[in-house]
């Protein structure tokens, strides 16, 4: 699944970045790599979402979030990473 399809309040592992290279580099510099855990804090129905990653919050547009592959993190481990 992609990050765009993710639900508010859940945590996910990143499994792949498929945005254009320039954006990928910036995301990597912000700490979004394979295996990084992100939590969806808020989202608009169709559009941008807010994630928590490495202790900070990022707002990502649909184009970016729909090109990030993620895998849901098991329940029960979401609170304490």
């Amino acid at each position: 699944m992609t990050l765009y399809e993710a639900d508010k309040g859940h945590s996910y592992y990143i499994t792949g970045l498929y945005v254009e290279p320039s954006v990928t580099r910036r995301l990597q510099a912000l700490g979004l790599n394979d295996g990084t855990v992100v939590k969806v804090l808020n989202r608009k129905k169709r559009g941008a979402l807010i994630i928590q990653v490495r202790g900070t919050r990022l707002a990502l547009g649909k184009h970016i979030s729909s090109n990030i592959e993620v895998k849901i993190k098991e329940e029960g481990t979401t609170e304490d990473e």
Binding site: S22, A48, E81
Partner: protein, 672 residues
């Protein structure tokens, strides 16, 4: 590396992530002794300040906030060329302790440079507030023994220790620090280092350059054209970044305790402020409140300025008469300069409140949310939500707003944003609204003025939409922005911000508006026959009359308005100054001044009513921006063609909109 004589004057660069409190720290260290300097070779303005520790003079250089030492954005390029400069002796890396994990990434990159670095651990109070703890012994150990100094930029604690560390570290020099990459990469770094050393024997940060070559960094490759393809067979950037973050995770694991004990306040505030439905209404409400305050509280305070100006003006008149100054000189000073410049000064309370509100919004962390909230609207016009931030700055002053478009990713987005920023009504247009809404709308003055801001914003968005349709642009949905924690705005930061803006305003009153007032006075008091008694015979009237046929359909067919609008291109406030000079009032922004102008306007044109006044306000909102803005747009876009096209568009739009409103309005007035 720092052997030999030690200078008594050192250059220190402040480097850090955006929102790490860098500017607050910079202000705390340098006080108000700020100056803006142009960095050689770069067109970007940078802030420099002076401070001293014991007998060493320190020049601090503030750089744009960056996440990484790559060169993908303008900010990164500026900061990178600054820290790479041999003039820089020490780097202060400001780290937001409350988001250590992300901030340390830049730190690891800076450490590879091999320059002396001091870590300023900022926002320790927030760390404590959240119940987190940082092991201040282990942290420097894991970072190659760089000095780590906890500071609070807001409360100004730890600053002396920081400066001491800077001097001490500069004298001692840098210890070699190595983050070990996997063997494959280390081997390649070693090989590239040897090649670098062979080609550039005097080079100081060989390892950093070797790593950058492995990352396939464009600029480094350009500057060091050595054949590396046999070693750097592909970009190892991803692997190198992952190694750094893996190491950071280790550092955080060992040094940071009780992580994730919640920033409850931010999450609660965000529930309302970034709500999917209420986000936009809440934003509009906040902005309306800001402008409402600007007009009402500002107006309440202006009485003080009015009285002061009246006393001053009377005093000068009396003094000049007393020493027997000739009539023309008295007229120049009282009717020209005092009326032109003094009238503008009475708007200081409004300006202060506007900038105070903008400063609070910026410093609290709300601005970044606006980018998220407005992303869907902006996306539809082909811009990212981030483009809305420079537009909001445009409410203050268009010039810094145009410069702020640098944060946008593509040149195309920059130009489109630059094109619409002038429609965001800047503080210089505020006096025009205050004057004309005050004269013609009485009890509804606030609403008439407020409507200008809304109309400006709507026109900005509509024109961006039209451009997007014309070029068959797509929806832009590639927003990427960090949302900082909310924090209580820092009084000192806000004071410095407002003071700087106020100083700009005052210096504009002392230069541009001063000169414009003299020129206008000359144009209105002299004609082909020399000094004229009636302004209708003056040069100004001749020029103004040329514009009358053009302005007539918009309800602005008076030569006086033509002159005022023309003069207003020097600075928008000059429209008000011109009216003051034209109708001989010392203080346009007072009840007496307003009624005199009103009387005189009606003497010239009895039909000039509230509809005409509204069209005049509209025209001032939309027509060509001031000279300073035009120069900035030319500089930032690097194209005269673009700048001229933009001016033509704005002039045409201003005329069309005010004509449309006037014609429709007249029609409606005829019906009822």
């Amino acid at each position: 590396m720092n052997s030999g004589e030690k200078k008594k004057h050192i250059n220190v660069a402040c480097v850090g992530n955006p929102n790490c409190g860098k500017t607050t720290l910079f202000n705390a260290l340098t006080g108000s002794r700020l100056k803006v300097a142009n960095w050689p070779g770069v067109t970007v303005e940078k802030v420099e300040g002076e401070t001293a520790y014991e007998d060493t003079k320190i020049t601090l250089i503030d750089t744009p906030g960056i996440y990484s030492l790559t060169c993908y954005t303008i900010e990164e390029k500026v900061t990178r060329s600054c820290v790479m400069d041999d003039e820089i002796d020490v780097i202060i890396n400001i780290v937001d302790a409350s988001s250590l994990e992300r901030n340390l990434y830049l730190t690891l990159q800076l450490l590879e440079l091999g320059k002396p670095i001091v870590l300023a651990l900022n926002m320790m109070d927030i760390v404590k507030e959240r119940g987190m703890e940082i092991d201040l012994h282990r942290l420097p150990e894991m970072l190659g023994n760089v000095p780590v100094v906890p500071v609070s930029a807001a409360k100004r604690t730890g600053l002396d220790i920081l400066l001491h560390a800077v001097i001490h570290h500069y004298v001692e020099g840098m210890e070699e620090y190595i983050l070990d990459y996997p063997e494959v990469i280390e081997n390649k770094i070693a090989k590239l280092s040897v090649m670098m050393q062979a080609h550039y024997p005097t080079h100081s940060s060989v390892r950093w350059h070797a790593i950058k070559l492995l990352e396939d960094d464009e600029e480094v490759k350009k500057e060091h054209p050595i054949q590396v393809t046999n070693v750097a067979d592909k970009s190892y950037e991803k692997e190198i970044i992952q190694c750094k973050y893996a190491y950071i995770e280790k550092v955080v694991h060992e040094c940071l305790f009780h992580k994730n004990r919640k920033a409850a306040v931010t999450d609660k505030a965000d529930r309302v402020l970034t709500h999917p439905v209420w986000g936009i209404p809440v934003f509009l409400l906040i902005m309306c409140f800001v402008f409402f305050l600007t007009f009402t509280v500002g107006d309440a305070l202006k009485g003080v300025f009015e009285e002061a100006l009246a006393i001053f003006s009377d005093g000068v008149t009396g003094f000049l008469a007393g020493i027997g100054v000739s009539g023309w000189l008295k007229s120049l000073i009282v009717d020209g300069i005092i009326a032109g410049v003094g009238g503008i000064l009475t708007f200081i309370p409004n300006i202060c409140i506007l900038f105070l509100a903008l400063a609070i919004l910026e410093d609290s962390g709300y601005m970044a949310r606006v980018a998220y909230v407005m992303d869907s609207v902006m996306g539809r016009v082909g811009l990212s939500g981030k483009a809305f931030l420079p537009m909001i700055l445009g409410f203050g002053c268009t010039v810094p707003a145009i410069m702020a478009t640098r944060s946008l990713e593509t040149e195309h987005d920059r130009r489109k944003t630059m094109m619409v920023i002038p429609f965001m009504s800047c503080s210089a247009r505020l006096p025009v609204y205050v004057l004309f809404s005050g004269m013609f709308f009485e009890n509804y003055a606030v609403f008439a003025a407020l409507s200008m801001y809304i109309i400006g914003m709507v026109i900005a968005i509509i024109s961006a939409l039209v451009f997007n349709r014309l070029e068959k642009g797509k929806v832009n949905d590639s927003l990427l922005i960090e949302l900082p924690e909310y924090k209580r705005p820092n009084a000192r930061t806000i004071r410095i911000y407002v003071w700087n803006k106020l100083r700009d305003y005052l210096s504009k009153a002392g230069t541009t508006i001063f000169i414009a007032s003299i020129v206008i006075w000359f144009l209105l008091n002299f004609g082909v026959t020399g000094m004229v008694a009636d302004a209708a015979d003056s040069f100004g009237a001749v020029i103004g009359r040329i514009l009358v046929p053009v302005l007539k359909p918009a309800g602005l067919g008076m030569w006086q308005i033509g002159v005022a609008l023309l003069a207003g291109i020097s600075a928008k406030e000059v429209v008000v100054s011109s009216f003051a000079v034209l109708f001989g009032v010392t203080n346009a922004n007072s009840a007496a001044g307003m009624s005199t102008i009103l009387e005189n306007v009606h003497a010239v044109n009895p039909d000039f009513g509230s509809l005409n006044a509204y069209c005049l306000m509209l025209f001032c909102l939309l027509y060509v921006p001031c000279i300073a803005t035009v120069a900035t747009i030319k500089k930032e876009s690097g194209s005269w063609k673009f700048t001229l096209k933009m001016l033509a568009f704005e002039l045409l739009l201003a005329w069309s909109v005010s004509t449309l409103v006037f014609q429709l309005g007249s029609l409606l007035q005829g019906l009822f």
